[in-house]
């Protein structure tokens, strides 16, 4: 944003010498800051304070009466279950985000090619999984995956398949939680990609067509470069949300069987709230912070670099 004084003010009082404070108050950036300050305070209260408090909790002993520094983190490094959770969180988040991005990309293209008059209806329908609160829709999935009375198994029985232990076997349970996460999150990618597709200038496709580019070449050399920033930002945002996912895993498997679907948030809840070890639970939840921080740095640096190149 460019700092600029207001021309009307200058014109109204040309002879009066104003102080620094008055000048500062007349800058658009100052006014913008003042107008945004309630939101900044709100974010500080709702994000910065809890984050700081979580860091403080993570440095206390189990009974929260003694400061132990990084003791809880060092303790976690020695736990097999912790490394299992790290691995599972990565598998869960990366697999789910990759499929959400792929499905979102494909569906966005289909919707983009639907005539405008019908697009609104399709967009509305495709957004339903994302709009319904995940806790509610996951309850429906829980019924579909029910160990004893699974609706899926009932259907599969007609073609001689199953019964599949959807949430009783470690691999099937992992598949199930990832599937539901994809179902909930793919529409977000779809709508973001659709917006990006609409902003690609039609002339680029026309030029590519004149040059004899194939469908795949148009995607690879026109669509993808034009969407790269949206893809990166959407992926980063989704990665953060998916890494921190709680409701889907908690409702569907609660981390079971035998801890094979725990992710950071569910394990932190198990330790912190259900086992009353709040400092250790806080330590587990804070582990997401450096991992996501590193991912954010790489992705945002890439976006910045491309922004500078194009400037």
């Amino acid at each position: 944003m460019v700092d600029a004084t207001m021309p009307q003010s200058r014109a109204a009082t040309p002879a009066v010498k104003r102080g620094g404070f008055h000048k500062a108050m007349q800058r658009r950036s100052t006014i913008a800051f003042l107008m945004a300050s309630p939101l900044i305070v709100l974010i500080a209260l709702l994000v910065v304070y809890p984050a700081g408090y979580a860091m403080y909790l993570a440095m206390l002993n189990k009974s929260m009466q003694r400061f132990v520094g990084f003791g809880n983190f060092l303790f976690l490094f020695k736990r097999d279950t912790f490394w299992l959770v790290v691995w599972q969180s990565c598998v869960f988040a990366i697999t789910a985000v990759a499929f959400k991005a792929l499905i979102g990309f494909i569906v966005a293209h289909f919707v983009h090619n639907i005539p405008n008059a019908k697009q609104r209806k399709w967009r509305g329908m495709l957004l339903i999984p994302w709009v319904i609160p995940p806790a509610m829709s996951t309850l429906a999935w829980l019924w579909l995956f029910d160990p004893s009375y699974s609706a899926f198994n009932w259907l599969l029985s007609f073609v001689g398949i199953g019964p599949i232990p959807w949430t009783g076997d470690a691999n099937w349970a992992r598949f199930s939680v990832i599937l539901v996460n994809i179902w909930v999150g793919a529409p977000f990618f779809m709508i973001m990609y659709l917006a990006a597709l609409k902003s690609v200038p039609e002339q680029l496709y026309e030029a590519a067509a004149i040059d004899g580019a194939s469908w795949w070449q148009r995607i690879w050399y026109v669509t993808l470069p034009m969407m790269r920033n949206i893809i990166a930002i959407t992926t980063l945002f989704s990665l953060i949300v998916t890494f921190a996912n709680f409701d889907i895993v908690q409702i569907l498997t609660a981390g079971g069987p035998i801890d094979r679907t725990h992710v950071f948030a569910t394990w932190a809840f198990r330790l912190g709230i259900q086992s009353s070890d709040i400092p250790l639970g806080a330590s587990v939840s804070l582990f997401m912070f450096p991992i996501l921080g590193i991912a954010a740095i790489f992705i945002l640096r890439d976006i910045n670099r491309r922004g500078n190149e194009s400037a």
Binding site: A254, F269, S276
Partner: protein, 444 residues
């Protein structure tokens, strides 16, 4: 907040005599202050009304302004409220604490020796599990609550056990009389499970990490004398008793539905109501659901005792507690209310309102009419409150020091051991895994 509910007046209401307890309060025209209560939101429809009526009755007499929040345990909402209030050192004056929570917040709870002594004198002693969970540093830290406390004993199909296993469960546990169940042992239980499985009606005992699964596993471990950590805090995972328990469960698991490792607390209820199962381990809520949704199944259900093992006959008991925060601003009124709610007449009303589900922890309060008369079949709940002390009321992971036991319980270490072993992991590898897990819980 200033309160006019004076110490003198409180002492008058809680003097250590039965007579005073029976008629604890002297009404004054002056106000007794405010009291904020966070109680468990009962899943039996209408059960909260009995508690509300009792509290209002007390509040009107004592002129205390009371507000009640009923907090659900669904999604562990009550645990989150407890954790948040403990952190903020602010919130309700009295909270309903699930089983392990008083021990988890012992530093922030007001001791209640002054009311527990007289209550025990009046209502009879409480079992060792209640003492284990409700006392710390030789002091009572919470009052055992009638509402929410439960035993998770077997609930069996009379017809299926008789037809397929040759067991007349009503003869073993007759309504209105002491059990005749000396022959009801782990071996007989296993044979019955096998017979019912062969007939297509397996026993439904969960092996997940929710409390129904963990409680059942705990009772079988106790029956074999198996402990993971002893009362001194020593790790004793690698013992013959633990090996015997895992072997028992490995045999039992082959007669159960294959998906039991994924079961939660709703699964066994559904199993019973579906008509597919011959037995589940549950408080009478499973029977109550059957009575509503599948009356023909409910008519064949009988709640009874666990089988006995080499170490005795155990049943999982999960008491709820009423605790007073140390930062409460009206402790005297809070204690007075808890005394009122712990009276025989109050407990009887709560038990009736919950159709027999709620259990007082005091030994003289196990003979209410509700348990004798509820049906069909009449007498199905007679043995639910353990009126003849036929089995030892226990909790999984005891007798480990409570803060370690809570970790073992919450993380379902015993059920995870069973699942690992039954899925083919070598016994010693399972024991080594459990030992490593438990070592992690020793952190102070």
């Amino acid at each position: 907040m200033s309160t006019k509910f004076t110490r003198r007046r409180f002492l008058a209401t809680t003097a250590a005599t039965t007579a005073v307890l029976a008629m604890p309060h002297v009404s004054h025209s002056q106000a007794g202050g405010k009291l904020s209560l966070g109680f468990w939101d009962h899943w039996v429809p209408g059960a909260n009304n009995a508690t509300t009526a009792l509290i209002n009755e007390w509040a009107a007499k004592e002129k205390v302004e009371v507000s009640i929040d009923y907090i659900p345990s669904q999604g562990n909402k009550n645990l989150m409220v407890i954790a948040a209030e403990a952190q903020a050192r602010s919130g309700h004056d009295v909270l309903a604490f699930p089983t392990w929570e008083p021990q988890a917040h012992v530093e922030r709870l007001e001791p209640v020796d002054d009311i527990m002594g007289p209550l025990i004198a009046q209502n009879g002693d409480v079992n060792d599990t209640v003492k284990y969970l409700g006392r710390a540093n030789n002091k009572w830290i919470a009052v055992p609550a009638t509402v929410g406390s439960q035993i998770k004993g077997p609930c069996s199909r009379i017809d299926l056990l008789k037809q397929h296993a040759g067991i007349n469960i009503q003869e073993l546990y007759p309504a209105g009389a002491a059990p005749k169940a000396d022959g009801w042992t782990l071996e007989v239980f296993l044979k019955a499970a096998e017979a019912c499985h062969k007939a297509g009606f397996p026993f439904g005992i969960g092996l997940g990490t929710t409390s129904d699964s963990v409680d059942s596993a705990g009772a079988f471990f106790h029956a074999n004398g198996a402990q993971l950590v002893n009362a001194k805090g020593e790790i004793v995972v690698k013992s013959d008793a633990v090996r015997k328990s895992l072997d028992f469960y490995k045999k039992l698991a082959q007669f159960m539905p294959t998906d039991v490792p994924a079961w939660d607390d709703a699964s066994n209820n559904k199993w019973l109501v579906s008509g597919k199962g011959a037995m589940v381990m549950n408080p009478p809520s499973a029977w109550a659901v059957a009575k509503r949704d599948a009356p023909q199944i409910a008519e064949q259900l009988w709640t009874h005792g666990f089988p006995s093992g080499p170490n005795g006959r155990y049943a999982p008991f999960l008491p709820y507690f009423w605790g007073i925060w140390s930062f409460s601003k009206n402790k005297t009124a809070a204690k007075s209310l808890l005394v009122h709610l712990s009276q025989r007449a109050s407990a009887e009303k709560m038990v009736a309102a919950s159709a027999g589900y709620d259990l007082p922890s005091f030994s003289k309060l196990t003979d209410f009419k509700t348990w004798s008369e509820e049906g069909p079949p009449k007498g199905t709940l007679y043995h639910y409150p353990n009126p003849h002390n036929h089995h030892t009321l226990s909790i999984a992971a005891a007798p480990a020091p409570p803060k370690i036991a809570q970790q073992i319980y919450a993380q379902g270490v015993q059920t995870k051991m069973i699942v690992r072993h039954m899925q083919g992991e070598a016994m010693e590898k399972t024991l080594a895994w459990a030992e490593s897990e438990v070592e992690g819980f020793m952190r102070t």
